[in-house]
């Protein structure tokens, strides 16, 4: 029994941290441990969560995407502009998603064709998309025109949980199943571990990698729609900062930056850690400056614990 607990701790330090943070919150703040607060936490992280699902899958193949942040802006802008020009709900939403997928396509194409470093290429497309966003919006705020569209961000399922949260959780679970139980998913892990061995095992490495970039673009596009629907409008730099945040939550959950390790359920844990910390720090009225320090410390603790425990895991 003790051994299983020990093994669990070694394998999932992030869960322990999460449980610790939640108990700490329940102990310190009377309003923390309420269902309403939890719904709120989930709601506030759902946009980041949807992006992180795509980012996690990319990380599993040993790649990553720094352009997700501005894709969030681009997809929102595309949707809103389509609506302003009289498109209906479905067309405008499809347009927004397509915008995300197109950038994913561009990323994938460049990286696969040239074999260039993913970090730099996506950094480049990121700035490119930002410039497109600025040109399209002229730095103005643009408002969504169709009220039904706003349900995506604000609506609740029978008044309980927001649709955006449901979308995020469903995607995370669904993608996890695909990752673990399908040939496609299994191949992604192999690519992450060793792309050469994957090719020699008959896996179409480039095609799959390309597919994952498309998926990541799609996720970022969807996140952009949710964010736009949540606030009812969008601006050029709507998602700024989410690229690093999505990496942080994936890593907090235990997904490796070197590929081959991780999963989207773990990312939910990572997201919750970040959401709970932010929520707790505001509930405790901690100054913004101190919040930054606290976030940095928690993040470093988790990753250090993971790094040190990795050794233990190997020996056991």
């Amino acid at each position: 029994m003790l051994q299983t607990v020990g093994k669990f701790i070694i394998n999932y330090p992030s869960i322990i941290i999460l449980v610790f943070l939640i108990s700490l919150g329940a102990f310190i703040s009377p309003v923390f441990f309420t269902s309403r607060n939890f719904v709120n936490i989930l709601w506030s992280v759902s946009v980041l969560g949807i992006i992180a699902v795509g980012q996690t899958v990319l990380l599993i193949t040993g790649n990553f995407d720094m352009s997700v942040a501005y894709i969030v802006g681009l997809s929102g802008i595309t949707t809103v502009m389509l609506q302003i020009n009289g498109a209906n709900l479905i067309t405008s939403v499809a347009g927004g998603l397509a915008a995300g997928v197109i950038i994913g396509f561009l990323n994938g194409l460049i990286i696969i064709r040239t074999n260039a470093n993913a970090f730099l290429v996506t950094l480049g497309t990121s700035a490119l998309v930002y410039s497109i966003n600025l040109i399209l919006t002229q730095s103005k705020t643009w408002y969504a025109q169709i009220d039904a569209f706003l349900i995506l961000g604000r609506g609740k399922f029978y008044g309980t949980i927001h649709y955006s949260v449901i979308i995020f959780l469903t995607m995370a679970i669904f993608v996890q199943i695909i990752l673990r139980r399908t040939i496609f998913g299994r191949s992604l892990y192999i690519i992450g571990h060793n792309p050469k061995a994957a090719k020699y095992s008959g896996i179409q490495v480039n095609r799959l990698k390309f597919g994952v970039y498309l998926f990541c673009g799609f996720c970022a596009g969807l996140a952009g729609l949710v964010m736009t629907a949540r606030t009812g409008s969008t601006v050029a730099n709507a998602g700024v900062g989410l690229e690093f945040d999505s990496l942080i939550v994936s890593v907090l959950g235990g997904t490796s930056l070197f590929g081959g390790k991780g999963g989207t359920i773990r990312t939910i844990i990572g997201i919750l850690i970040l959401g709970v910390i932010s929520n707790l720090l505001i509930l405790l009225n901690i100054q913004y400056e101190a919040q930054q320090i606290a976030k940095g410390v928690v993040f470093l603790t988790v990753v250090c614990a993971d790094g040190i425990l990795e050794k233990k895991r190997r020996s056991s």
Binding site: S44, L134, S139, R154, T231, V235
Partner: protein, 315 residues
């Protein structure tokens, strides 16, 4: 070898393609260094400047340092190198802007500050400040609050921009000034930044409503997009009508919200006019005329009572 030559050719062709964007000939050149071009108020200013510049036949060139004071300093130097007739600076940081503005002064190029002024020690190197004082805007909002709550005790939440930014700090200071004048015993129970982002303001307000399930009387979000985010959070949490939300700017959706009672008030910043005034001032300087040291666009307090008069000024 061939590949590299091709690359060289490609680079040259690419550069050449970019060239046609160069400015046309006009009577005089205005060089504008923004604060950060991705904010709506800058867009309004640019519009005002462009419209007015067409009348005076001025060439206006814009630079965007993306809120980086060092880049702003470099860009002011670029303007000096371009030998612009007038340089207009929207200071990212009041203190950091002193040195480059001094350089322009020494190079004999007149400088106007716009929207955000330079620190007092740099004033002597500038001709004038054109804009609306952010402290005035905060003061106007503070007055609106006093009108509504009088000298009753009230709890206020501040939703800020980026930590340390002048507009944020000054607007809050302005509001406090108004309270102090009226001896209003308001208490700021939370002051947290939301990075000028509607979405972050929404999340922040949601958490704050959890923390203070009762007792928030007023919210001052230091610009309108964040105020709208706050209103969304209030609606989602079911506190509609219980909390008075104030903003600053006078964005279209804020005016809309004031009209239908969701928002208590905003301080209308007439950014378009700031742009117009700046070009006029630049023209006057270029013509060798004397101008006033402070050219202020009016700040109008907008509430539900006077929204109809102002609604076509919202931007």
């Amino acid at each position: 070898m061939k590949k590299n030559l091709l690359f060289l050719l490609f680079c040259l062709a690419f550069m050449a393609l970019v060239m046609p964007v160069s400015a046309e000939e006009g009577t005089f050149d205005i060089c504008v260094v923004h604060n950060s071009a991705d904010h709506p108020s800058i867009t309004a200013i640019v519009q005002g400047m462009n419209d007015e510049a067409a009348i005076f036949g001025a060439n206006v060139t814009y630079f965007d340092p993306a809120a980086d004071p060092q880049k702003q300093a470099s860009m002011i130097e670029d303007c000096i190198a371009r030998q612009a007739d007038v340089i207009v600076v929207n200071c990212v940081d009041p203190t950091a802007a002193v040195a480059p503005i001094k350089k322009a002064f020494e190079a004999g190029i007149p400088v106007l500050t716009q929207n955000a002024d330079v620190a007092p020690e740099g004033k002597e190197f500038t001709y004038a400040f054109v804009g609306s004082q952010s402290i005035d805007q905060g003061y106007a909002v503070g007055k609106m609050m006093v009108e509504k709550f009088g000298d009753k005790e009230a709890k206020v939440v501040i939703i800020g921009g980026n930590p340390g930014q002048t507009d944020y700090v000054n607007r809050v200071a302005g509001a406090e000034m108004a309270w102090a004048e009226a001896n209003a015993p308001y208490e700021i129970i939370s002051d947290q930044p939301a990075g000028w982002s509607k979405d972050k303001a929404l999340t922040l307000m949601t958490d704050l409503l959890t923390r203070f399930p009762t007792g928030i009387d007023m919210v001052y979000a230091v610009d309108d997009p964040m105020a709208i985010g706050v209103i969304e959070a209030i609606k989602a949490a079911g506190y509609e009508g219980e909390i008075a939300v104030y903003g600053t700017n006078g964005n279209v959706d804020a005016c809309e919200a004031i009209k239908n009672g969701d928002m208590a008030g905003t301080a209308l910043q007439m950014s378009y006019l700031v742009g117009v005034y700046a070009v006029r001032a630049a023209y006057d300087i270029n013509q060798g005329r004397l101008i006033s040291e402070e050219i202020l666009a009016p700040t109008a307090p907008i509430t539900i009572d006077n929204i109809d008069e102002w609604s076509d000024m919202c931007w």
